[in-house]
């Protein structure tokens, strides 16, 4: 008998029983939607090449204001709704960021410093300055994010240290996660005696043409397909729905038969069926398509076309 095997703390079979299938499915979903940088090369040409380029540019220009406006609105909501008695939150900033306005709110309470991002479009240098003023070794970076997750914490890295740790502050209805939830981290609680270093990554509004690094649900509020029932419809129908809103599809993801991973395609036949979508960049959506549905994933998770619970009727 192999003595190393006897030391095995948990077998694969036992581990598989520890987590429910829907938790793993939600994680997979979040990864696909959040880890939005699988291909770092130059953007591929739009799938519907028949559309004149200048027409596409014009439509996109019309959409430029949307994510920024959402970002500012989200920042405002965070600043107002998370305010509790004793907090010193300033006036809500809904216009262009003012140079002198605080970009973070710091509130000391019960041995913690509560940090909320108030202005997700501010210059990162100003975050560093504000953390330094508060004697915190915290780096805050911003990644381009799709509208429904702008202003939320998308990633957190912590340095060594066994002492008190940073914990996220969550808020309801500030964003809509890939798994269909609406409770999202919008800030952090830092113990006053925190001695480690941390990097916080928040979603910010994307600039025109900039690819999202973090994305919410394609049919979440403020997103390209808000209110649309697209799952199970043909690619041609979905493209037409998107075109009405001025959105294009730069790439498709197609699962090859018998393989675990997706294939990237610039075009797919119009009669294929769409089973998922992800915001890709301002004015662009990525579609998952297959010849038949439901699609069987390697993990055993079945993705079937069903209306999203977050999509309103009609």
């Amino acid at each position: 008998m192999n003595p190393i095997s006897q030391l095995c703390p948990v077998t694969d079979t036992e581990a598989a029983r520890l987590v429910r299938d829907d938790t793993m499915a939600a994680l997979a979903d979040d990864i696909v939607r959040s880890g939005m940088a699988p291909y770092t090369g130059a953007p591929l040409p739009a799938a519907d090449g028949a559309r004149p380029a200048n027409s596409r540019r014009l439509r996109r220009r019309l959409l430029i204001g949307v994510p920024v406006a959402v970002a500012l609105a989200v920042a405002g909501l965070i600043a107002t709704s998370l305010g509790t008695p004793g907090q010193h939150l300033g006036p809500v900033n809904v216009g262009p960021p003012k140079a002198q306005a605080a970009v973070l709110s710091f509130t000391r309470q019960d041995g913690y410093i509560q940090v909320i991002v108030r202005n997700p479009v501010a210059d990162p240098k100003r975050y560093r300055a504000e953390f330094a003023e508060n004697h915190l070794n915290i780096t805050l970076t911003l990644v381009p994010a799709s509208p429904s997750v702008v202003g939320t914490l998308v990633e957190e890295s912590l340095s060594a240290g066994s002492g008190p740790q940073i914990t996220p502050i969550t808020a309801k209805d500030r964003c809509f996660t890939g798994g269909g939830g609406n409770v999202c981290p919008v800030g952090v609680r830092v113990p006053v005696d925190f001695h480690g270093a941390a990097t916080l990554v928040f979603g910010r509004a994307a600039r025109p043409g900039e690819q999202y690094e973090s994305a919410g649900q394609a049919n979440g509020p403020g997103e390209a397909m808000y209110g649309l029932h697209y799952q199970g419809k043909t690619v041609a129908v979905v493209l037409a729905m998107l075109a009405k809103r001025g959105f294009t599809v730069p790439q498709y993801r197609v699962q090859r038969a018998g393989q675990c991973f997706m294939e990237v395609r610039r075009t797919v036949p119009g009669n294929w069926l769409v089973y998922d979508a992800t915001p890709w960049a301002p004015g662009q959506v990525l579609l998952w398509a297959a010849t038949t549905l439901p699609v069987r994933m390697c993990s055993g998770v079945r993705i079937s076309p069903s209306p999203s619970p977050s999509a309103p009727a009609g």
Binding site: D12, E14, L18, A26, E155
Partner: protein, 162 residues
């Protein structure tokens, strides 16, 4: 992959983070992930590097692992290791970390030398030699700890055919 992470971390939070980050890395580098059985080895290799970062104190907490973290904290209870294996467990912890990993890949993931080579990024021959040395080091540790007991060292080298 969850089993791999749980077997190598002290707490479920770290296992959840490693699992989530492994798959996030895979998704971001989809074009590098090999097909078929090789994909699993690629994932083990990625998880191994992330765990090494964890051990160096570079913990990375991903918001997307929150649900998994919460669920594992409720469901996972580390087993009480049988007293029979306490000495072997202690000896195992005393050998260098790279040796532990080689023996674990053979004993826990049941990989052969060729598969271990793919995970740790060396030739098949090098993996076989390193595995052999790791077994000898473990046997020596056990021998030191159990000098007055049965020759467990022989049992190790004969029993582990990976």
């Amino acid at each position: 992959m969850l089993g791999y992470a749980l077997r190598r971390t002290d707490n479920t939070d770290d296992a959840a983070d490693v699992l989530a980050e492994t798959f996030l890395t895979a998704w971001r580098r989809l074009d590098e992930v090999p097909e078929g059985d090789q994909a699993k080895l690629w994932l083990y290799g990625t998880a191994r590097r992330l765990l090494a970062n964890h051990r160096r104190g570079e913990r990375r907490r991903l918001a997307l692992a929150d649900r998994l973290r919460a669920e594992l904290a409720l469901t996972y209870r580390p087993p009480d290791r049988a007293a029979d294996f306490a000495e072997i467990a202690a000896a195992f912890r005393r050998i260098p970390q790279p040796d532990q990993e080689l023996l674990a890949l053979a004993g826990w993931e049941e990989l052969d030398a060729g598969q271990i080579a793919a995970v740790v990024g060396c030739s098949r021959n090098a993996a076989r030699i390193r595995l052999h040395r790791a077994r000898r080091r473990l046997a020596a540790e056990i021998g030191r700890a159990m000098a007055d007991m049965s020759p467990a060292g022989d049992g190790i080298t004969n029993g582990d055919h990976a």
